[in-house]
């Protein structure tokens, strides 16, 4: 192959983002699959009763006859599947939000989306209004949309990322306060339940919970696929995006709506598992630095799954008879890890002291030239 065709193919590969995995991508794939397999094996075999790995296939096959079989198929497998699906949704939603608002800290927790969804779910619980299970995601979606819309309306879309985040924090605090008022009204037993739910817990979830998620995924995934290319155009900045024929504000609202549809059903089923939407996109970006939004989306979803599945292990096993909520673990581990990724990414000299627009243009240009992984596509929001 001549040098020129090699360059051309490199340009082609880079222009297609992460869809052609290069050396970094392969390495990431190996790590990801390794972690996923390890976490799944641990999730299925550890616990009481302990099912050794070599007995797992047998337990899965005769599910109804043995105790181990029942435990594995009726408790552990749905829990694992739920963790994977929820993590994928949250990771993808986090990436969509961060890309659409061009802000590396725009996570559901910071925008009032999570608190809104939690409020929507917890309110009928406390007020003892009985509602069918199918309506619950709708309430969560209503709450999440309320929180997100309040934040964005109050902050104004064109403002600096920090102002948006602070506004979001204020809205989230107000929604939290409303939630706490509800909790004060509840009695002691309800309170334990709600408190656990609010921290994001995967305990005692069955196949019913998992099947409840599918309809929403059927809506969200095609929308996600359609919207991903627009997201990578939004990265260039509003003016360039408009010049390329994307209506920036409308695209941003669509992205927000998709994120809400992804987050709300997950919140309805397992509570706000916190900060997954913060950590997963940063992991994806960091390990696959040459990509764009289209390339990062699957990685972000996959890393989200891994994060939730891994966090569920200490949640289930760390203080064995007592279950700790998975959301507390993801908050404890996810925030420091995400911040560390963010900071180490920013410390590179290329990422410093450039205006938002030129940053986006240089990183986009660097991608289309197919330069190596040492060029970090900087988060366009001014983090430092």
């Amino acid at each position: 192959m001549s040098a020129r065709t090699a360059t051309e193919s490199a340009v082609g590969a880079a222009a297609w983002g992460g869809r052609f995995p290069r050396s970094g991508g392969t390495c990431q794939l190996v790590v990801l699959i390794g972690l996923l397999v390890a976490a799944s094996a641990c999730a299925l075999s550890l616990g009481t009763p302990y099912v050794p790995l070599y007995r797992l296939p047998g337990a899965l096959l005769d599910a109804d006859t043995t105790l181990a079989g029942v435990v594995v198929t009726e408790l552990r497998v749905p829990r694992l599947v739920l963790a994977l699906v929820a993590g994928a949704c949250l990771g993808a939603a986090g990436l969509v939000l961060q890309e659409a608002l061009r802000n590396p800290l725009a996570v559901p927790e910071m925008l009032g989306v999570s608190s809104g969804a939690a409020l929507g779910v917890a309110a009928p619980l406390v007020l003892a209004v009985s509602i069918p299970a199918a309506v619950q995601p709708l309430l969560a979606i209503g709450g999440a949309a309320l929180g997100g819309a309040l934040t964005l309306l109050a902050a104004g879309l064109g403002r600096s990322p920090s102002a948006v985040l602070l506004t979001g924090a204020a809205v989230a605090a107000a929604l939290q306060a409303a939630l706490l008022v509800l909790m004060v009204m509840a009695d002691q037993l309800d309170l334990q339940l709600i408190y656990r739910y609010l921290l994001g817990s995967l305990s005692a979830r069955t196949w019913d919970d998992v099947t409840g998620l599918w309809p929403w995924l059927l809506v969200a995934v095609p929308a996600l696929v359609l919207c991903a290319p627009v997201l990578s155009v939004l990265r260039l900045g509003d003016e360039d995006a408009e010049a390329l024929g994307v209506r920036a504000q409308r695209a941003r609202f669509a992205a927000l709506a998709i994120a809400i549809v992804l987050i709300a059903p997950v919140t309805a089923v397992c509570g706000p598992v916190a900060w997954v939407g913060f950590l997963a996109p940063h992991l994806a970006r960091r390990l696959n630095p040459g990509g764009d939004a289209v390339g990062w989306l699957p990685w972000s979803a996959a890393w989200g799954s891994v994060v939730v599945a891994v966090a569920d292990l200490p949640a289930r096993l760390a203080l064995a008879p007592v279950e700790t909520p998975a959301g507390a673990w993801t908050a404890l581990l996810g925030v420091p890890a995400g911040v560390a990724l963010l900071r180490s990414g920013n410390r590179r000299p290329t990422a410093r002291r450039r205006s938002a627009g030129s940053e986006a243009r240089t990183s986009a240009g660097a991608e289309s030239r197919g330069s190596g992984p040492d060029v970090v596509p900087t988060e366009v929001g001014e983090t430092r």
Partner: protein, 335 residues
């Protein structure tokens, strides 16, 4: 200036009267009667053993939070640096909850709660310092980092609460901040602590005023900026810890009262620090009276017997609205 002080003193007295009169079981006329020396034993008990300490604790905690917020904002030169935003309040909550959960502190040793809250507050502030770095960063950026720190500390608190549940109900009330059921013991614990650290903060008014002008000017005037800032932070954390131990994590008071105080009393901290204490006391006391009133109205409207709106929920909701105003105004203004 003295006119403004007297206006706010009158405001505090009005709020205090409203606080004394609000509540179930006694009509305002009855309160007046009992204050004049009448009433039976139950009524005297309600007024002097329940309502009066509650009023005093609300006043003291509000004053503490107001002064702490002003000290923090001046020392860090950051208009968004309230104790809630710099990780001090969540840290103090974590400290108090952990100490109680481990059995190191409790109702038998209330002073230990204050000390644990203090340690926790320092931890929170230290975490933020580690995260944001020592450079004079963008104020809004520091605040965003503070929210991240609060998330981590909140996760830890939740973990402790779930491992050692205890009385989750009362702890939840305390997490949002409430003056419900505060008695004389709380007040006897709060006032010496608040008075000592408040006096310390007032003695530091001069250095703080210099710090507000920036490190260069402070150094040129012969002030060791780093040392003064550390002392101010110690002061602010101690005041916040005292308030948190008494009434819990009262939302947004420490962030917004200083803005009000600065607008009313001007930038001379020797005047504004006592002013912030007055404003904070008035705000918390008024909010508590309003919360009682609202919960009474709600109880009538919803026809449910047991319904209390914690004062922290009210301050958080009002404060969130005001914070939006501050955020919208801040970027265009240099502090």
């Amino acid at each position: 200036m003295s006119r403004r002080f007297s206006v706010f003193a009158v405001l505090v007295v009005v709020c205090a009267c409203a606080e004394l009169a609000a509540g179930r079981g006694m009509s305002p006329a009855m309160v007046w009667d009992v204050l004049g020396g009448g009433g039976d034993a139950t009524e005297r008990h309600i007024l002097f053993q329940l309502r009066l300490p509650r009023l005093l604790v609300a006043l003291g905690a509000g004053a503490c939070l107001g002064v702490a917020g002003l000290v923090l904002q001046s020392a860090l030169r950051n208009p968004l640096a309230g104790p809630e935003v710099t990780g001090v309040t969540p840290g103090a909550v974590l400290g108090a909850v952990t100490a109680t959960g481990l059995g190191l502190a409790g109702w038998e040793s209330p002073f230990a709660v204050v000390v644990a809250a203090c340690v926790g507050g320092f931890t929170g502030a230290g975490l933020l310092w580690l995260l944001a770095g020592r450079g004079p960063g963008d104020p809004a950026q520091t605040a965003v980092h503070g929210v991240l720190v609060s998330a981590v500390l909140g996760g830890l608190t939740a973990m402790v609460l779930l491992v050692a549940p205890g009385e989750l109900g009362s702890v939840v009330q305390w997490l949002v901040g409430t003056t419900e059921g505060r008695v004389w013991q709380h007040w006897h614990l709060l006032w010496p602590w608040a008075l000592a650290w408040g006096a310390a903060a007032w003695l530091m008014a001069g250095p703080l005023a210099l710090l507000r002008c920036g490190d260069d000017i402070a150094s040129a005037a012969g002030l060791s900026a780093a040392r003064a800032r550390t002392l101010a932070l110690v002061c602010a954390v101690a005041l916040t810890a005292g308030a948190v131990a008494a009434v819990g994590a009262l939302g947004f008071v420490g962030l917004l009262v200083p803005h009000l105080a600065l607008a009313v009393f001007g930038a001379d901290l020797r005047v504004t620090l006592p002013g912030a204490a007055l404003v904070g006391a008035a705000v918390v006391c008024g909010a508590d009276a309003a919360a009682q009133l609202v919960s009474q109205l709600l109880a009538v409207a919803l026809d449910s017997g047991r319904l209390t709106l914690p004062v922290g929920a009210l301050t958080a909701c009002v404060g969130a609205g005001l914070l939006l105003v501050v955020v919208r105004r801040t970027p265009s203004r240099t502090f």
